[in-house]
């Protein structure tokens, strides 16, 4: 009882503390961009401590989410369904479809001809996981993966589905997963945002990304994802203007803080002191961030592992390598979005290109983390916003076909961070259409990821407009079968 009481106090205090940061007195930016010095006892330089107090011991200290934007087809990647090849061209049985609603793109289609994978499958690793030939590198690390076959959602279009996947709701300006992590746990690195976002684009049909996917929603805007761009300026407005060098900047800041301190003497407003600190942090970020985002000094064996593309800024491979560096430096939640997975047509042409862009670097990231001893405490997630249909959109020819959106079952895999390696979780029917065992709804998925991060999804709440909001809204349960 007593412990519960204390736990509750701590939770309330933490929530209050974080919730009050902007309005609070002498507050400094916290969460995504906090100053952990405030929270650290002097002289302690052991492992960086999270700002927030986890509800229990976390397995994953950090998350890297390799979001495959557009919805990669499960049938050409990780879901082996030979029945579809056998029955190719036959109509999807109504007993399987069971009234599933269809998107406007195939709703008027007269026939729903089944179509099997054009690409070969084989089993890999001790676990004997089935993988398509398009993902040879991921296949090689099958025993590190926890493959979920039964992810499911209610959304059937990209915008609501992506929004659901990232914020726990199809509509509405709710905080993204990374923002919740930032809110709940804060930052591990005083010079970097707790929630960082990296964008890349593949060669397939794409659907765009939106800043609401990394929004802070109703949380304080310090929890908003900070986009790292591939250009010369990794974070917006980071670079000193032309004609200014570090020492000139330093001199300006020194004079500036002298003047600001005079204002403090006049007004006594602790916000002034906080502002001076923010300028100092900005100055530190200007050094720390470019050092971190400079991939040119990575050793050869790393470049080899991720592939030569990792030296081309803005590619998925470069972003994977950058994600590792950011994560290693203590960024709580690194979110990648790789666009181009929307194969309504030309599956045979586009799928290999998309796979080629992502396969090697995804596997390299997991291997790299493992070699550094970081995989145990870093959760890597790979997947899209829904699955694709087992029937062809438009006519399937001998050489090509397309697949429409399918919300009832799709694949996502995780690695490290306390998940069960070498595991296949859940099962769909022979058509891959319906789940027959162990569904993982998005709310469950979120609950599980938060659990791995040491957060109870029912307890991490934020009161907004009179209601306590959670990432998992009113549902979600932790899936023990995914946890090591």
């Amino acid at each position: 009882m007593k412990n519960e009481f204390l736990e509750n106090r701590l939770n309330i205090n933490r929530r209050h503390f974080l919730g009050k940061m902007t309005a609070g007195i002498g507050s400094v930016a916290l969460g995504s961009l906090l100053v952990p010095d405030l929270f650290k006892g002097s002289g302690d330089d052991s492992d960086a401590l999270p700002l927030g107090i986890p509800h229990f011991a976390p397995k994953a200290k950090r998350v890297i989410y390799l979001f495959q934007n557009g919805a990669p087809s499960q049938y050409e990647s990780f879901e082996y369904k030979p029945m579809l090849n056998k029955m190719a061209g036959e109509e999807l049985p109504a007993s399987i479809r069971m009234g599933q609603r269809l998107t406007g793109m195939t709703a008027n289609q007269a026939k729903f001809p089944l179509v099997g994978s054009h690409f070969k499958f084989a089993q890999y690793g001790q676990s004997g996981m089935w993988m398509s030939e398009l993902f040879p590198n991921i296949a090689n690390i099958a025993d590190d993966l926890c493959m979920i076959k039964t992810m499911n959602t209610e959304a059937i279009n990209h915008d609501p589905a992506l929004t659901f996947m990232q914020t726990g709701a199809q509509q509405g300006n709710r905080p993204s997963m990374g923002a919740w992590a930032s809110y709940g746990l804060g930052s591990e690195n005083k010079n970097l945002p707790a929630f960082s976002v990296l964008l890349s684009r593949g060669k397939g049909n794409g659907q765009g990304v939106y800043s609401k996917l990394w929004t802070n929603g109703f949380l304080d805007s310090t929890h908003q994802g900070v986009v790292f761009s591939s250009g010369e300026e990794p974070i917006l407005y980071l670079n000193d203007p032309a004609g200014t060098d570090r020492s000139a900047r330093r001199k300006m800041l020194d004079n500036l803080s002298e003047l600001n301190n005079m204002a403090y003497d006049d007004f006594g407003d602790p916000e002034i002191k906080a502002k001076v600190q923010q300028y100092e942090m900005a100055y530190r970020m200007q050094t720390a961030v470019p050092e971190l985002t400079d991939l040119s000094k990575e050793p050869d064996h790393i470049i080899k592992m991720y592939g030569p593309e990792c030296l081309v800024p803005g590619t998925f491979a470069a972003n994977c390598l950058l994600a590792r560096k950011l994560s290693e430096a203590g960024v709580r939640f690194v979110q990648l979005y790789h666009q181009g997975w929307d194969q309504h047509g030309n599956m045979v042409g586009e799928m290999p290109l998309q796979a080629k862009d992502t396969d090697r670097a995804s596997a390299a990231l997991i291997t790299d983390l493992k070699q550094r001893g970081l995989l145990d405490e870093t959760l890597v997630i790979w997947g899209g916003e829904f699955g694709r249909t087992n029937y062809s959109q438009g006519t399937a020819t001998k050489d090509n076909y397309g697949r429409d959106h399918h919300p009832r079952a799709y694949c996502t895999f995780m690695a490290g961070g306390g998940v069960k390696p070498g595991t296949v979780y859940g099962e769909t029917d022979d058509f891959g259409y319906n789940i027959v065992r162990d569904p993982v709804h998005i709310n469950d998925f979120h609950a599980t990821v938060m659990h791995l991060m040491g957060l109870n999804h029912e307890k991490l709440t934020y009161k907004h407009l009179g209601r306590r909001y959670r990432l998992t809204d009113v549902a979600g349960k932790v899936i023990p079968g995914l946890i090591a």
């Binding site: 519960e4 204390l6 509750n8 106090r9 701590l10 009050k20 902007t22 309005a23 609070g24 007195i25 930016a29 929270f39 107090i53 609603r101 998107t103 406007g104 709703a107 059937i156 279009n157 990209h158 915008d159 765009g208 990304v209 939106y210 800043s211 929004t215 304080d220 310090t222 761009s229 591939s230 250009g231 917006l236 980071l238 000193d240 203007p241 004609g243 200014t244 300006m252 004079n255 002298e258 003047l259 600001n260 005079m262 204002a263 006049d266 007004f267 006594g268 407003d269 602790p270 916000e271 002034i272 502002k275 923010q278 300028y279 942090m281 900005a282 709440t461 407009l465 009179g466 209601r467």
Partner: protein, 789 residues
């Protein structure tokens, strides 16, 4: 602080650090003051239901024992007196509450039991009552457990002006209320702010722009008694008043320049935005302002106006308010799913903007805290469900304004809609409201799902606010507006007055400006709120008059100096014994920089502009469709327009705005957060707009025949809006000299510095001097005080 000491030992035991504990201690102190006068650490002599008990019951109990019948546990509700006093359904010998009798009140027994299986709230709810809250409930039951209706649902009446300790201080009625509160809480008001700072504050608050150099001079020299009032009148006449007032309205109306979902194509709602500015400048009464926006189209019909009637066109344009929601262009969506989404957005926006009620919470089930039933939600929904529209009208760029829409031609702009800043010859289409000829039936949607139709409902509003009498009001949006403006409506005037107050004081009298319901905060000055609301309504809903009352009050005119006493007694400044010190909103940060440098283009309205923006932002996020897939920056004068005209592409909002907490315009927003982050520091130091402003001002001052000290003083005064102190000037001058020396040694750096921005460079041979002055001005722009008011 017992809790705190045990927390400390817990933390230490768990090897967490002292720093956290210290930080929590500061916060805990602040928490107690959070609810204003509601929760002093000791239990008050008389416990009040509205102020002390209902917030606890609502937050911890109503979720299961409140208005939502479907989720009610043990068939017990505690939100009404009758139900709480009645015999328990599952044990008729017991009563939840027996007034004056703790031992027979089940509520008391269940919140104090040691048996965790019996304890309320249940352990698994993660909700708890504090010792202080339990003590409050104890005393309340002992004192007779009196219920009172929720304050916000009783129509306001003019309260008596309170007695105050100092009759000389109040300048108008507002001050009597604030001073009485200060008296109660052992605080006394600050001195009046000095003239320079007061002028900066009032100019920014009324026009959103800093006072010009000329105005500063004039005001300082004017020693007359009513010098301040004269300035206020002058500012209220400025055409920039409408822009400043429009800004929070655009947040509430979720105004943007793109459609918002996925492909996020261009839309042309800006003429509606121009109308909002116009309406404020013309000082339309709030009644007219609201009626036109909600029901301009119906008013045209009712008054039998022809479509080409000038007033009809303006009324139609005003209805764009309800079409500012996001609209999808994603191929393959289910039409009805999105049409319902738009109606939902309108309903939620209506609830929040006009009634400060969280209507959206009743979309899928009865409201958990407020007496809004799911049926009520869809009854309100019915008003907005009659638009002849589609969920998916067309693909991107097929149309910038889905029907129903109105066409604004060059002739319209010349003759009628003169305030619409349309400069090219092409007609512009604006989305407006219209009702179908035959009413679309409105169903309750089970669990809020578009395809799960429940009972049919008709347009109506809940009785607990004010019965919607169909004999009195037509059952359409016009009736809805009339119902809102009925003198007996308890919410309309309070809600608007409270939001205007927030603009000037940084927080509303009700802090939760979007929630006047059970879970909202209680008003810090309930009588002041009621006085203002009634006064506003009975004086023709006159917005300018309200603004003038506020800025002429002694409360507003105080200095913002914060003393140790303030910090200990009222850190959040609930009782207003000082003026608030607040950072400017994002748009005004930009305005201040441009205005003080002389670069500002003061043009009003027109299509939004694309100013300097870091490269690649739109391109890296686009689906590749539509004319907004690439960012095509504007040039010339357009680069120097005010912040409110910066183009808002919803999926990639302008970063310089977002970094300073501007709304992403995704949904109705009535309160922005105010953060202080290193990204803001980076923006102020490195954004080309700030750098260019520093450069242009430096060039201008260099060309003036004056001493270096004069140039620095003048720059300081234009930017900070006050004269610099000698010790400040010393630091700045020293910095200038050092920069000049350094840049003289490296003239190529000076050249690079001066190359920023598209404004033409002045021909000045001594580049190091100009560059040094530019750096100096940049430093001044970065003073904390600059973007504070």
């Amino acid at each position: 602080m017992k809790i705190f000491s045990s927390a400390k030992s817990y933390l230490l035991k768990n090897r967490l650090l002292i720093g956290i504990v210290v930080a929590l201690a500061c916060v805990t102190t602040a928490c107690f003051l959070n609810r204003g006068n509601a929760s002093a650490a000791s239990v008050p002599d008389e416990v009040d239901y509205n102020y002390h008990i209902r917030p606890i019951l609502s937050d911890r109990c109503f979720k299961c024992h409140g208005p939502d019948a479907n989720k009610r546990e043990a068939d017990l509700r505690l939100d009404t007196e009758a139900a709480a006093y009645a015999a328990l359904k599952d044990n008729p010998k017991l009563h939840a509450i027996v007034p004056g009798d703790l031992d027979n009140s089940a509520v008391w027994l269940r919140i104090t039991t040691k048996d965790t299986a019996e304890l309320m709230p249940p352990v698994e709810s993660n909700l708890k009552l504090t010792e202080h809250e339990i003590a409050l409930i104890e005393k309340w039951i002992k004192q007779g457990a009196k219920y009172k209706p929720h304050w916000a649902f009783i129509a306001p009446t003019t309260p008596k002006l309170p007695e105050v300790s100092d009759e000389a201080w109040p300048k108008n009625e507002i001050d009597r209320f604030t001073l009485a509160k200060m008296d109660e809480n052992g605080l006394s008001p600050n001195e009046e702010a000095d003239k320079e700072r007061l002028l900066k504050r009032v100019a920014l608050d009324i026009t959103g722009l800093p006072p010009s150099f000329e105005l500063q001079e004039r005001f300082l020299k004017d020693k007359s008694e009513n010098a301040y009032e004269k300035v206020v009148d002058e500012l209220l006449k400025s055409k920039h008043y409408g822009e400043k007032m429009a800004l929070p309205w655009l947040d509430a109306a979720r105004y943007a320049d793109s459609h918002g979902y996925q492909d996020d194509g261009l839309r042309t709602m800006w003429p509606w935005r121009d109308w909002v500015i116009h309406a404020f400048n013309q000082n339309y009464g709030y009644d007219k302002f609201v009626t036109w926006q909600l029901a301009g189209d119906l008013l045209v019909k009712q008054q039998g106006k022809k479509a080409d009637d000038p007033a009809a066109k303006e009324m139609m344009l005003a209805t764009g308010f309800n079409r500012n929601h996001k609209i999808t262009q994603e191929g393959g969506v289910i039409d009805e799913e999105y049409r319902i989404e738009y109606v939902t957005d309108r309903t939620n926006t209506y609830g929040k903007t006009f009634l400060a009620l969280t209507y959206e919470c009743a979309k899928c089930h009865d409201h958990k805290y407020d007496p809004i039933l799911q049926k009520d939600y869809y009854s309100a929904f019915a008003f907005f469900n009659q638009v002849p529209e589609k969920g998916l009208f067309g693909t991107i760029d097929a149309n910038f304004a889905d029907p129903p829409n109105m066409k604004i031609t060059t002739k319209d702009v010349k003759d009628i809609l003169k305030f619409v800043n349309k400069t090219d010859t092409a007609a512009v289409l604006v989305m407006v409201m219209q009702d179908k000829d035959t009413l679309r039936p409105t169903h309750i949607l089970n669990r809020g799902n578009y395809d799960q139709l429940g009972d049919v409902v008709t347009a109506n509003m809940p009785n607990f606010i004010l019965p919607f009498n169909p004999k009195k009001y037509p059952q359409n949006r016009l009736g809805l507006a009339q119902w809102m403006l009925d003198p007996k409506n308890p919410l309309t005037a309070r809600v608007f007055v409270n939001r205007v107050w927030q603009e000037f004081f940084g927080r509303g009298i009700v802090k939760t400006v979007g929630d006047f319901g059970m879970q909202g905060e209680l008003p810090s000055h309930p009588q002041l709120l009621d006085w203002l609301a009634v006064d506003f309504r009975t004086h023709g809903w006159d917005i300018k008059r309200l603004v003038k009352q506020i800025v002429l009050s002694a409360t507003y005119r105080q200095s913002s100096v914060i003393t140790k006493e303030h910090l200990s007694k009222d850190p959040e400044n609930v009782f207003l014994a000082r003026a608030p010190r607040m950072r400017l909103p994002a748009e005004l940060v930009r305005d201040l920089v441009l205005a003080s440098s002389g670069l500002l283009n003061p043009e009003i309205g027109g299509p939004s502009v694309k100013t300097y923006q870091p490269k690649g932002l739109w391109e890296s996020a686009t689906s590749g469709r539509g004319i907004l897939k690439t960012y095509v920056q504007d040039h010339g004068d357009s680069l120097y327009r005010r912040g409110m005209y910066v183009f808002i592409k919803r999926t990639v909002p302008p970063p310089n705005m977002l970094i300073f907490d501007a709304s992403n315009r995704d949904q109705c927003e009535v309160k922005r957060s105010r953060t202080n982050t290193p990204l803001q520091a980076l923006l102020m130091l490195n954004d080309p707009t700030v750098l260019e402003s520093a450069r242009v001002l430096a060039e201008k001052l260099t060309l003036e025949k004056s001493s270096v000290d004069d140039k620095i003083s003048k720059a300081f005064r234009q930017i900070v809006c006050r004269q610099a102190k000698p010790k400040e000037l010393d630091v700045i001058r020293k910095y200038f000299d050092e920069e000049k020396t350094a840049l003289a040694k490296a003239p190529q750096k000076a050249t690079k510095l001066l190359s920023v921005g598209e404004a033409p460079q002045a021909r000045i041979p001594d580049r190091p001097s100009v560059a040094a002055l530019m750096q100096t001005i940049l430093m001044v722009y970065n003073l904390e005080e600059v973007i504070m008011k």
